[in-house]
Amino acid sequence: MEYANPWQRIMRWVTTTNHKDIGTLYLMLSLVMLFIGGGMALIIRGELFMPGQQFIDPSFYNQMITLHGLIMVFGVIMPAFVGLANWQIPMMIGAPDMALPRMNNWSFWILPFAFTILISTLFMNGPAPNFGWTFYAPLSTTYGPPSTDFFIFAVHLMGLSSIMGAINIIATILNLRAPGMRMMKLPIFVWSWLITAFLLIAVMPVLAGAVTMMLTDRHFGTSFFNAAGGGDPLLFQHIFWFFGHPEVYIMILPAFGVVSQIIPTFSRKKLFGYGSMVAAIAVIAFLSFLVWAHHMFVSGISLGAELFFMYSTMLIAVPTGVKVFNWVTTMFRGSLSFETPMLFAVGFVVLFTIGGLSGLMLSIVPADFQYHDTYFVVAHFHYVLVPGALFGILAGVYFWIPKWTGHMYNEAMGKWHFWLSVIGVNVTFFPMHFLGLAGMPRRVPDYALQFTDFNMVATVGAVIFGFSQLLFLVNIIKTIRGGKPATDEVWEGAEGLEWTIPSPAPYHTFQTPPEVR
């Protein structure tokens, strides 16, 4: 596009209502946040390389773990999936754009301000939020630093953005499908996002409620979370995890969707069990509302509650297992090839399964008494979030970037990126299982001597993983600038409407709806 002056160039992005532009903005924000949050992770791992205080004090350490968690969850994984949704959903269902383009613009442009506010707390007088991303009361209320109020405001903004994004996605999928695109013909990625969007609408208001109650506890004399005034600190945990557990699935369901697009493509074979895949996502989403207290097994809930939440949590293994079995069966007797998106998708299935199995171990309440709040849990949720959610995003970007830019990415560099990431992730997080079992609590800035070896290994892995993401950065910048032209179909086994339009995708697509047979 031609611009008369730089101002126009900037304003194009500020005022855009085009789903492709907004998708790009979301993905860019997520990329920037990935390196900020990743930098914090490296600070944490650097401090933990050896026992003793190395180069940051415990107060700063607590700020780092808090911001690392918040940025990775709300600033990397969630925006990246919304970015993928913005780019792909209209193209996959044959719609000209999102249903609510102006709201789409607003829901993105809230986010840079939210994260500016959140990160600005690091430069304030007094500590930034230092109570962990779970911000348990009363540590975050009575004992929270003044910057907590900025954190509360930032979380409100993020919630607004997510709710509007979710409404937009639901409206688009339900109303703008091309003629003949019945619900049970929707690509799995679209299905996964439809269900995720309902989860978002259900739980983001709950999070908003939790932080609002924090705010009134801090400043207006309410005592929701203060026993001295008739409240209960555990009430906070119930509310938080009623948001928090569906949130976990908000971060993984779209990744399921991405992987379910990629594996059939590179297996040159239809997805096995489409119907059961959709059903499994729906069942997982439903169960996700019934398991929240499994984060609170040692907090003093009653025996009856512990039994109920143990059973409901174990039950989630069934639909999750169905998904894994279906992916493996899709690959079985396919005609497989291993381009970068497929590598990341296969890596996803293997490593996510490991995270899922350790999740099954965590559901056994008596054993959870030993695992809870140790590095075993840290290993578990990093396995489902890094080689899980993040690999899903990376796979999706490699898969669709030829369509977005019209250029093929550098395959050799992509493969290097994959192998270094896989090695880095496992070297970082696998030893954490041992650390947790041996008794190392999470969120400690220093540790006893017997934990030294595995912490050193983990730090080495983190450095490998962190720096190998620079390959990804270089690769996508090069792909945006140029590279081998991509065909319309891009991949040999590709199926779906998005592969019928030219590469790069024109600024406006499907202005007249395609006919789906």
Binding site: P58, D232, F272, G300, I364, D373, L437
Partner: protein, 376 residues
Amino acid sequence: MALRGLFKKLTFIVGGFCFFPALYAESALNMPRGVTPVSRDIFDLHMLIFWVCVVIGIIVFAIMLYAIIFHRKSRGYKAAKFHDHITVELAWVIVPFIILVLMAIPASKVLIKMNDTNHTDQTVKITGYQWKWRYDYLKEDIGFFSNLSTPQAQIQGKEPKGPYYLLEVDKPLVLPIKQKIRLLVTSNDVIHSWWVPQLGVKRDAVPGFIHESWVYIDEPGIYRGQCTELCGINHGFMPVVVEALTQADYDKWITGHKQQAQQAQPDKTWTKEELMTLGEKSYGTYCAVCHQVNGEGMGDIYPALKKSKIALGPIKKHIDLVLHGVQGTAMQGFIDQLTDDELAAIITFERNAWGNDTGDAVQPSDIRKLRKGDES
């Protein structure tokens, strides 16, 4: 492929468990089996679910690996056409469900046993404080605080670290073996969590609520754990140490502890040197984590004491601040935590160290007067 590395790792761990039983007795790879009936039940459950997971993982990954190796386009393999199979799809809903039910049975049994706090022999109340534990023996009328005893110099890397770095305290919780002891866990400020892996006990300490747990220790020994719920800046520095004694040794300890309390001399006048010696030690335990050994504090939240208005100002105000803390800040009140001797010594130390040479020597009796004044 990704699997190869993984298999190597699995072989390593699985091989470790199979061929070197000593490995999980001592090394830091696995959960400790522990010294209580509950901890052993937990360990068995843990190993059971671990093996279930390993077997499931191996089956799934083996099938996948087979496809990855043999069903490749580069080998000229042609893709099959199947994409649905209702029997198979039902089977992998039903089979995992049955496995889960079989797992849930022993897990429920252990859980119910763990929750049975009836018929206990005695009760110990555990209270979490930022960042120390208090233990009260309800039957014996004994209570004391248990603080980290690792010196700051080791944490800062100025001294070599001891073998129990960060896992040692000044006064451990002493418990008799072969008694069912009820633990009442609560907190004075934020949520903490009391955990000793060897005992299989982990309980959140929630302010305003008391939660129960229990322990029955089989063998005498020293068992170490830590706080596991993020509770502020020194969350990593509030270990739990339990010393389990035989009944005879335990009775001796109780008697000794009570005699010690009686031997205190309330009317003794301390010399400044005595106060400074005790003061330096106590300051290191209670104050230095925030205000630092050099008295320079950390930023605005943990103000410097060196040349500070408080330490150089009126004594009464200084004592009052240490006794009651400062509302809305990280400074807590130490009135219930420290003895008059310790308080006098710490305040004397703060008024004379780091070039704060006021020359004041605060006596325990001064503290007692203010403490009483508070009560009236």
